[in-house]
């Protein structure tokens, strides 16, 4: 296990020696990572290296076999995902997971807190900002893939989140849509939110992230600034097998 050096920033999320096994596969193996408040942190690694599982462990969709996940000073390992969400952690999924038979507007209003009265007004405003007003009453399953990604992003803006996990947001998205997604990420950072994301678009990752954790076979094999990670020999091996 690589030693995780304490970062100089305020830590919002810290995973310590987390492991998860599915049958014969050690999906996550003693992995640790830290996310600084207000920063963009990246997770990269080949397919099947445990990135998505790590996200599921953090957001409570899976229960870790061992290890701690400290979020805002509390251990949330194994807590159900709706509780983790209400503690201010939102996420998107690798393949978009909108509620297909509900309208775009309903997709956005259903996730808000009980006593939040202005949900519909906020949803309409967010849609208008991205030029999607005309889709308000359309079923989510009728949208194009890029539009679904955008709506999934907007749905995150409906909840009070401090940490946002984005699982491969740029996969299969055209350049125009990609720009919109990036704009939304910028907007979240300006609002003071923290982002943890994973993607295979290395150019974007290197530019966007302040710190990067590299996964391979469920373990963190390297971490540091994009420049440091790029130079790391183990990262080259994991990606190119050289």
């Amino acid at each position: 296990m690589s030693r995780v050096a304490p970062l100089a920033t305020d830590i919002i999320l810290q995973a310590q020696n987390v492991s998860k096994r599915f049958g014969g596969i050690q999906a996550v193996d003693n992995a640790s990572l830290q996310v600084g408040r207000g920063k963009i942190t990246g997770v990269i690694g080949p397919n099947g290296s445990g990135k998505s599982t790590m996200f599921n462990l953090i957001t409570g969709l899976e229960k870790p076999d061992s290890g701690q996940i400290i979020y805002k000073g509390k251990n949330i390992a194994g807590k159900p995902s709706h509780i983790v969400n209400r503690m201010g952690m939102g996420r998107t999924f690798q393949l978009t997971r909108l509620f297909g038979t509900m309208t775009v507007l309903e997709n956005m209003t259903v996730v808000t807190k009980e006593n939040f009265g202005g949900a519909e007004a906020l949803a309409r405003e967010l849609l208008a900002n991205l030029g999607l007003s005309r889709l308000s009453n359309e079923y989510a399953s009728n949208l194009s893939y890029g539009q679904q990604k955008l709506v999934e992003f907007l749905r995150l803006s409906m909840i009070e989140s401090d940490l946002i996990l984005l699982d491969e947001p740029f996969a299969g998205v055209n350049p125009v849509m990609e720009k919109k997604l990036l704009e939304q990420i910028d907007a979240w950072i300006i609002e003071g939110k923290t982002i943890l994301l994973t993607d295979h678009e290395m150019a974007i990752m290197m530019e966007l992230c302040e710190s990067i954790f590299v996964f391979d076979y469920g373990s963190v094999i390297a971490h540091g600034t994009p420049a440091e990670v790029r130079e790391d020999r183990r990262v080259m091996e994991a990606y190119f097998g050289s």
Binding site: T59, G60, L61, P80, S81, H82, N85, R86, G90, R91, F93, R97, L98, F99, G100, T101, M102, E106, T109, V110, V111, K113, R124, E125, A128, N129, G131, L132, S133, R134, L135, S136, N137, E138, Y139, N142, L143, S144, Y145, G146, Q147, L150, R155, I159, N174, P175, V176, M177, K180
Partner: protein, 355 residues
């Protein structure tokens, strides 16, 4: 709002633009139309026992019973997507609670109905708590087993349930018309002689109103979210288990009361008839026929299917089963969303949660 819309930039190559859907203006008055329809129907049905013969009244009672079953089934299984076979179980439990309390003459019949409903609600909560963690077919199978378990308990626990002998209920003594009755006396007599019919009318009316309230509410939206993607719903902060279990318990109250009224109506029950899986099947088929996950689908399905099957049954009791089964197969094959989805696809009805 549209004025602030920036230039449309999402028309990139892989972005097929869908024709954005806007519901027609009259969509928001659907609720009022229902209210008018409901008031007219209730007035008509209140007067029915005066005008019609006993057969029509009993047939209408059956229609109201099926409306209650299918509408309440629709809450968890239509909106929430959890197909349940538990309705027969709750129907039977409600029948037994009602029948036994009346058999031993513990209390007046109206509180008996309420006790039957609350009892089923509590049992629904306790049963739902562990079983609603199961998904899809596993939950359906668990609910089949639940109904069967109830039947066996009713059969075997004969100290309380009187076992396979069944339960006889006190006979309702009918009042006979007298000469020179005032309108009020006549109304009282009609009510007395048809009290099970009126009880079922009240229950079905409450079920329909509740269906609209639930279907258009935030709670209903959460159920739809659970049906579409339960994992995402949970990850977005919806307390899925709580929503499912509470809905299940609430939907168990209605078959419970309906069972108690049915027991009083037929005067004799035994485990085989009230725990028969056909009660679940009826709720399911009528909902699917009308359109599961819609508000009026289950009501429409209950009226159409019950009347059609009655007419066919009159002709030939064997043919009835074939026709009934045939209709279900055709519906599942050619209009899986039911009548309502078909009408919505043809743009006769708007896509609306008020439908």
């Amino acid at each position: 709002m549209a004025t602030r819309t920036p230039p449309v930039t999402d028309q990139a190559p892989n972005d097929t633009n869908v024709d954005a859907y806007t519901p027609p203006g009259w969509e928001k008055y659907i609720g009022w139309a229902y209210l008018v329809g409901l008031i007219i129907s209730v007035i008509f049905l209140l007067r029915l026992p005066i005008a019609a013969d006993a057969y029509t009244v009993t047939l209408t009672l059956t229609v109201l019973l099926v409306i209650t079953l299918s509408t309440s089934w629709n809450w968890l299984s239509g909106f929430g997507g959890y197909t349940s076979f538990a309705h027969a179980g709750f129907f039977g439990i409600g029948s037994y609670i009602g029948a036994l309390l009346l058999h031993y003459e513990k209390m007046h019949w109206i509180p008996v109905m309420i006790v039957a409903g609350i009892g089923c609600g509590i049992i629904g909560f306790l049963v739902g708590l562990p079983t609603l963690r199961l998904r899809g077919p596993y939950f359906a199978i668990a609910m089949l087993a639940f109904t069967e378990l109830c039947r066996v308990i009713a059969l075997a626990w004969d100290d309380v349930t009187l076992g396979g002998n069944g339960v006889f209920l006190p006979i309702l003594r009918l009042q006979l018309p007298e000469e020179n009755m005032s309108f009020w006396e006549e109304a009282q007599m009609t009510f007395h002689n048809n009290q099970n019919y009126y009880a079922m009318l009240v229950l079905a009316t409450i079920a329909c109103i509740w269906s609209y309230v639930l279907g258009t509410s935030r709670w209903g939206l959460k159920l739809l979210a659970i049906r579409d993607d339960e994992v995402a719903a949970q990850a977005m902060g919806i307390k899925t288990t709580y929503v499912k279990v509470t809905t299940f318990a609430g939907s168990a109250v209605f078959p419970g009361i309906a069972g108690a009224i049915y027991a009083r109506h037929v005067g004799y029950i035994d485990p085989v008839t009230v725990f028969a899986i056909i009660w679940s099947i009826r709720a399911i088929t009528t909902s699917i026929f009308g359109g599961r996950g819609t508000i009026i689908g289950p009501i429409l399905g209950a009226v159409v299917l019950t009347l059609v099957s009655e007419k066919v049954w009159e002709q030939d009791p064997n043919l009835y089963q074939i026709v009934y089964g045939g209709i279900i197969i055709l519906v599942v094959l050619f209009m899986p969303g039911g009548l309502m989805a078909l009408l919505q696809q043809r743009n006769i009805f708007p896509r609306s949660r008020r439908i």
